[in-house]
């Protein structure tokens, strides 16, 4: 036969034959069970009109594009979105603090000085010369 004359095909046939021989008794009964329910399920599929399958295909593609674009799943949804309400000021503040907590040390936002943080002239002079910082001998004088 033609197929037997080619060594390559003969080797493949031997391998497949061996697999079938050894796996057959174990896997075939499972296959029978699969065939049983598949035959039953296939009765429900229309076998005269491709339109149904084309419509399902199109629906799957469109649904997939919409669902996976709106919910890509790579970032956490906002709390308000989960509840189905609008974001309140408190939610926004919480989200902001959550975000800051997530930042690594180097990326933390710098804190700017406000007027309250600035020293008065007297405080500034005091801070220039602090007696407590002098050595003990000078302090005693």
């Amino acid at each position: 036969m033609l197929f037997q004359s080619l060594d390559f095909l003969q080797t493949i046939a031997n391998i497949v034959g061996t697999i079938l021989t050894y796996l057959g008794p174990i896997v075939s009964p499972i296959g029978d069970f699969m065939v049983f329910w598949i035959s039953y399920a296939l009765e429900w599929f229309p076998d005269d009109n491709l339109t149904v399958y084309i419509v399902i295909f199109v629906i799957l593609i469109i649904a997939s594009i919409i669902i996976n674009s709106y919910w890509p799943g790579d970032k956490a949804p906002k709390k308000a979105e989960l509840n189905g309400t609008e974001l309140t000021k408190e939610d926004k503040r919480e989200e902001k603090t959550d975000f800051e907590e997530d930042l690594p040390f180097e990326d933390e936002e710098p804190k700017f000085e406000t007027d309250d943080d600035l020293l008065t002239e007297e405080e500034e002079l005091d801070s220039d010369f602090d007696e407590d910082l002098l050595p003990e001998e000078e302090n005693n004088k």
């Binding site: 497949v16 796996l23 896997v27 065939v35 799943g73």
Partner: protein, 148 residues
């Protein structure tokens, strides 16, 4: 998805179209079963469903429940697709040798049964995945969002 369309629709379509008028060593072999159109119908029908599901599965987030559900549906459709070959008569391909007025029949049913058994195991794995994704949903989400 293009790969699935290729492997489930285009390749089988071309193969069946080719073996319909096959000539080996000068002997003309013809695919005699009436079900040629039937085979093509099921190949296209299930090919479309499998490709649609594959598109959904691969565009869904990693380890998400929706991915698990559609992966499971895809495997079940694969089983039906494979069995539709038998259903349409393609597992017992009968060739007509026109020169000698004879027949050659290739019975692939046993091979399909083994494949079905393998698919059963795949279904078991997909169900396990789905249960795992459902139970560990919060952990998976935290990991995905980078808040371990």
């Amino acid at each position: 998805m293009i790969g699935y369309v290729g492997f489930t629709i285009i390749v089988p379509f071309l193969t069946f179209s080719w073996i319909r008028t096959l000539e080996i060593s000068g002997i003309e072999l013809g695919l005699t079963q009436q079900g040629y159109n039937n085979i093509i119908f099921w190949v296209i029908a299930f090919g479309l469903l499998i490709s649609g599901c594959a598109f959904f599965t691969y565009s869904a987030p990693k380890q998400s429940i929706r991915k698990g559900v559609f992966a499971l549906i895809q495997i079940i459709l694969n089983c039906m697709y494979l069995w539709s070959y038998k259903f349409s008569g393609a597992t017992a391909v009968e060739f007509e040798i026109t020169l000698y007025d004879g027949f050659v029949t290739i019975n692939l049913e046993q091979m399909v049964l083994v494949y079905m058994g393998i698919y059963f195991l795949t279904i078991a794995i997909k169900i396990y995945d789905l249960v795992d994704f459902t139970i560990n949903r919060d952990k998976i989400r935290q990991k995905r969002w980078g808040r371990e």
